[in-house]
Subunit: 443 residues, 2 copies
Amino acid sequence: MFIKNRGELMRFSGASLLVEALEAALEAADPYRAVLRHVKRVGDEVEVAGRRYFLSGAVHVMGFGKASLKMTQAVVDVLGDAVAGGVVISPVGGGRVGPVEVLRGDHPIPGEDTLRASQRLLQYLESVGPEDLLFVLISGGGSALFEAPEEGVSLRDVAWLTGELMKRGADIVELNAVRKRLSRVKGGKLLRLIKTRRVVSLIMSDVVGDRLDTIASGPTAPDETARKHAVAVLRRYGLWEEMPPDLRSAVLRSPDTVKPGDPHLERVHNVVVASNLQSLLAASQHLADRGYNVVILSAALEGEAREVGRVLASAAKSAAWFGHPAKPPAALLAGGETVVRVRGRGVGGRNQELCLSFAVAARSLPVSAACMGTDGVDGNSPAAGALVDGYTAEEAEKAGLNPLEHLDNNDSHTLFHKLGRAIYTGPTGTNVNDIFIALVYKT
Amino acid sequence: MFIKNRGELMRFSGASLLVEALEAALEAADPYRAVLRHVKRVGDEVEVAGRRYFLSGAVHVMGFGKASLKMTQAVVDVLGDAVAGGVVISPVGGGRVGPVEVLRGDHPIPGEDTLRASQRLLQYLESVGPEDLLFVLISGGGSALFEAPEEGVSLRDVAWLTGELMKRGADIVELNAVRKRLSRVKGGKLLRLIKTRRVVSLIMSDVVGDRLDTIASGPTAPDETARKHAVAVLRRYGLWEEMPPDLRSAVLRSPDTVKPGDPHLERVHNVVVASNLQSLLAASQHLADRGYNVVILSAALEGEAREVGRVLASAAKSAAWFGHPAKPPAALLAGGETVVRVRGRGVGGRNQELCLSFAVAARSLPVSAACMGTDGVDGNSPAAGALVDGYTAEEAEKAGLNPLEHLDNNDSHTLFHKLGRAIYTGPTGTNVNDIFIALVYKT
């Protein structure tokens, strides 16, 4: 369904169940299905994650992010004629989904397209009446695709600062602390531009931890950072002195973001419709239904991929030898996003490196495992991830491939491709980070 | 009790429960208590881990390892007059425990003392009659403390090969594959020198995974390796060609080790009386009794200490944010042995590095954690481990200490000592590897 080479993978031990579990995870992360799972029409009402809204006024749709198109399609399919119109921004753009305009924005650095599309979106928002129902569809990439700079700030300023901070190693939380000062819509400020009190934000989380203030810079969420945090970040990366003086003063006099407790927040129901945890839970359910003792070790995994692979292998060993963290047949799951310090010149990615390191550490263990990026793209490789077991290291050696050399050369994909163990999905159009599953068998 | 500075640690959040749990783990690892827990006198019988032995013939004690003294004391205390005599080898030696002689052996490289003590022990063994009960007390270091080379092999040969293999990076399994060929007692061969069919081996495991064939080279356990494995290891590390020809031929014509299914194995009841898992379970029980939801993530932990710290922090984050792997109040435990690639010149060890890395990654999290070596010695520091929480990184910064610099300089102990967060036990006289505990609080 999602995995293109599933047939070829089936010759490996454990592949069938692993592939099914991965597809359950991908299905949970699919933007169209994620919206359908959370939004139901019940007669004259629409139910969203336990809350009901009368379809009395018009229904409008706005959105921004890489999953805009599919999310919009789902809302339109569920609500049909009730949808009056809307504007969404996506990296592709052009055309309509039902009555909703789809505009193109820029990603990952905001440019003229983002500015134009965002202005059109904000203009549309003025037509949304105080009793109307407004769906805000938020997904990864939304920070760059939707932007309206604060007064005195140009988009060029935003792009320059964003680019410099990324180059200098700022993380997503630091980046957002700055972006929220320069923007009229981030940090909950979008809510101030909305007249209706009936706002439903459907959110696809591509951020480990699912922090609402971080996903797409939290346009409808409370913000815990303040001006002083932004200044501290700019100083930390040596940008405060380099900035043009008028940009510095724009940061200093930027209107405050929406803080926890702000009455504007009562207007909005923020619902995370897809996340790493939801995908892990979908895979868990599939495995539990088949008799596996399931543990989610972490839904916030981080660290150097090859080291994380060893730690996950140590949990699999412990399950096999000691019955902890779970008795075999056990399924150990983890999700999040690891990193790779690139030292070699090979073809691979964090998921395949994690798998290869796991395979080396889990040699001879009664285990099979898979790791994949839910976006379908692992590093500089054409694969999404890989599938391994306790005999994969030996299998590689018999094929004349040295697993440790491939690890050291960041060349995991070359090895897995040769063994037929790479998982191919192509770009999935979604991203809830990475999923790891290990099955530990009874012996 | 075990932790000397427990009073000073009490001012930190979570310290009281963490210290109690660590002491439960240390108590489970104490050789004297470990033997007492597994060996009970019941009238005319002695019960060992579910099996009963009549005290009809004489009871003899033999043993080798760093915990020999304490283990012998426990057997003598439980069985009193029933113990007829025995010989045990320890790194200290000299004197007696009740009727049991204590001799000195060499550690970590076997020398003349080991040879002499081992000959005396084997001589004593000849006096053990076919109906007598023989306790074999095995603990860490036993491989070097007890050795009787095969015919045609000198102790110098054994010491040289052992030293070279260690220098060239062979692991414990590889080392043992070779040592078992050169020895008359390793790889189960000791059983061939014992006349009685009533042998109880009490084993303290200092090896991750508790493989009986690995602890002290498995003198009373079946061996899965064969001559060809030894040759392969010697070739792998370039020693096969360097070896004197007569040593090479000694390896080739060495008598086979005791294999699974060998009738000699029916004589022995191998009982692991202390292990990393047993210590983790003792700490778990203490925490579960106090309402914590406990998960043992792994009892076979391995990897680079600072990376393992990040992965464990990601599990703590996941518990705090998502309730997986356990709902707060949660206790996440792990045990095993990490490594440190030394790049700096500071004072520290793997346990304190793991703690420091955890503290950095778990910043602001409602968590406290501790990690310690059960032998009481962490790296080149005088501490056993450290105690941290979600505010320790900030605490360090306020004290003018940069956690990342201390990590990069392998200087974790200096930081923890200054913050009063180092855990001091002194050498504990036991070793079941390292114990990590994180408590994740309800918020």
